[in-house]
């Protein structure tokens, strides 16, 4: 079993279970998860993401058999290109984690809403992505990285009074996916409705994958997604330690789908996507 979306680290607003590498490993052992794709959770809030990336590199080097790193880059910060280069050259980055909402580099230009209301021809004339997002995704494409695009980390209605962060919109995600059809995107923490919406609108979707960490309803959510999106585009992800990892694991195990589909979701797709 492979967890395609997890973190190691602390969260500023409450104490988390399984925040340390050892605690996460114990939980993985208890659930039968052999490997986890992990990012440094502190990098959601650190302005200098290289601090968290260096820590992540050390953690992963300690257990390369269990952890697969996804390094975080914030293209809204000066000289992010140098961070990117160091992650590739020093850490051997193959997986890139982006948090456009927390890092304030919206994927789309402000005129998006106006353009979206216009005709299809008008829509096609605009480059919707911001220059930062374009440049970052161009680099990801050139390095053949898997891009973990995280829509949200927790329900924004429960955010801290002074740290209210709206989720990345499905329109942002669709625009990035359709502009870079050659990039392998793993869209993380989409709800059932988000995934269905992105899949429907992303007309170039061969390289599009979703984790199911936040697919938490309706009653036959996994079954419906297998029918709509296909089991070969869904991956077990837990969003641990923010979520109980049992949620995604049990949802797949108890879904009324074939054993072959379950196998794809819990490991085979991740093995292929991350070349494990």
């Amino acid at each position: 079993m492979i967890d395609a979306n997890a973190y190691v680290g602390e969260w500023p607003f409450r104490r988390l279970n399984h925040a340390t590498p050892d605690a996460l490993l114990r939980k993985m052992d208890a659930l039968g998860i052999e490997k986890a794709v992990v990012s440094r959770l502190e990098n959601v809030f650190y302005k200098d993401v290289m601090v968290g990336n260096r820590e992540l590199h050390r953690i992963v080097q300690g257990r390369p058999d269990r952890f697969v790193p996804a390094y975080t880059i914030n293209s809204a910060m000066p000289c992010w290109e140098q961070d990117f280069t160091r992650c590739v050259e020093e850490f051997g980055m193959s997986n890139l984690r982006i948090h456009p909402n927390y890092h304030q580099f919206t994927l789309l230009e402000p005129h998006t809403t106006r353009v979206m209301d216009a005709s299809l021809e008008a829509y096609a004339q605009y480059h919707m992505l911001t220059s930062n997002a374009l440049a970052l995704l161009e680099r990801a494409k050139a390095e053949d990285l898997v891009v973990l695009l995280t829509l949200a980390l927790e329900d924004s209605r429960w955010h801290h009074w002074h740290v209210k962060v709206p989720p990345v919109t499905t329109t942002d995600a669709v625009e990035a996916i359709c502009t870079f059809p050659g990039v392998r995107f793993l869209v993380c923490t989409g709800r059932f409705a988000h995934i269905a919406d992105i899949w429907r609108r992303a007309y170039k979707n061969d390289n599009l994958y979703f984790d199911v960490s936040r697919v938490q309803g309706p009653v036959d959510d996994i079954e419906q997604l297998c029918a709509q999106v296909g089991a070969d585009h869904l991956l077990l992800g837990t969003n641990c330690p923010i979520f109980y990892p049992e949620s995604a694991k049990l949802s797949i195990e108890h879904a009324e789908i074939s054993d072959q589909e379950k196998q794809l979701i819990i490991s085979a797709n991740a093995q292929r996507l991350f070349a494990l």
Binding site: R157, I242, Y244, S247
Partner: protein, 267 residues
């Protein structure tokens, strides 16, 4: 056995799948219907709309007495009509039952006094929706402060504290020292630490399993809050069914069906 104190259905597909999965998992569903027309539920439904919702609840419960407990939906914006609706339903149903309150008025609103009196008289629990959104609550939506006030003012009513306030830290703290508030874990993401927080502040005797099934939650995402929690097996058993069963068996009406079930279950 698992008792799910908080589940919804709104169309034939949800009813079929939910009941099939509930039977497979050994779950008794406490079902309430907020929207019988497969739409988004109106926040201030008319008495006729409420009655139609409860007709569907009655139908589902009648056809599936092995795994459904009806929770009669009420909109106390129409207090007299809703007292009559509750009385009618209680008299017509022979078995475990309860009431459901959503966003008609807040839990501490005086228009609920008559309904609370009926619930206390028959020792029936009520599932009260609560929320604490930093982005702002809906009009009429009860927050944890108001839930606490209602619980203190009506110690003879057993409240299922719907979603535990959604933001569990608000809910857990609001329930402290109010023994008739039972924390419903249903709804919301499977946030790590959710159940441990409730157990720490309210105690395992006052936490109950709910799923918020189909609104839009699933069984497993919410069961994960129990199975994944760092609490004892005994505490998990209390949350999954013991606490809820203790509350439902207090009721003073509609006992014959329960007696029949108990006789069938006896060796």
């Amino acid at each position: 056995m698992i008792i799910d104190v908080h589940s919804h259905v709104k169309n034939d597909h949800e009813i079929t799948v939910s009941l099939r999965k509930a039977r497979r998992l050994g779950v008794i569903l406490c079902i309430n219907v907020l929207n019988s027309n497969n739409n988004y539920p109106p926040t201030l439904p008319t008495p006729e709309y409420v009655a139609a919702c409860n007709d569907l609840t009655f139908k589902v419960a009648s056809e599936n007495t092995d795994c459904v407990i009806p929770m009669w939906y009420l909109n106390p914006y129409h207090p007299e009509a809703m007292q009559a609706e509750l009385l009618r339903r209680v008299q017509a149903w022979d078995g475990h039952q309860g009431a459901k309150l959503w966003t008609g008025v807040k839990a501490n609103d005086p228009r609920l006094e008559g309904i609370y009196a009926l619930l206390a008289e028959h020792k029936l629990p009520v599932l009260q929706h609560t929320y604490m959104a930093v982005t702002g609550n809906m009009p009429g939506e009860t927050n944890p402060f108001e839930m606490r006030e209602a619980g203190l003012r009506h110690p003879d009513v057993s409240f299922f504290f719907g979603h535990s306030g959604s933001d569990m830290e608000y809910g857990a703290k609001a329930a402290q020292g109010v023994p008739n508030l039972y924390m419903d874990i249903g709804g919301g993401d499977a946030t790590n630490g959710y159940t441990e927080t409730l157990v720490e502040h309210a105690g395992a005797d006052r936490v109950v399993y709910g799923s918020d099934l189909n609104a839009p939650r699933s069984f497993m995402s919410q069961l994960a809050k129990v199975y994944g929690a760092a609490i004892s097996d005994e505490e998990k058993e209390k949350i999954l069914w013991r606490n809820a069963l203790g509350i439902f068996t207090r009721q003073t009406v509609g006992w014959s069906q329960f007696d029949r079930r108990r006789e069938v279950a006896a060796p």
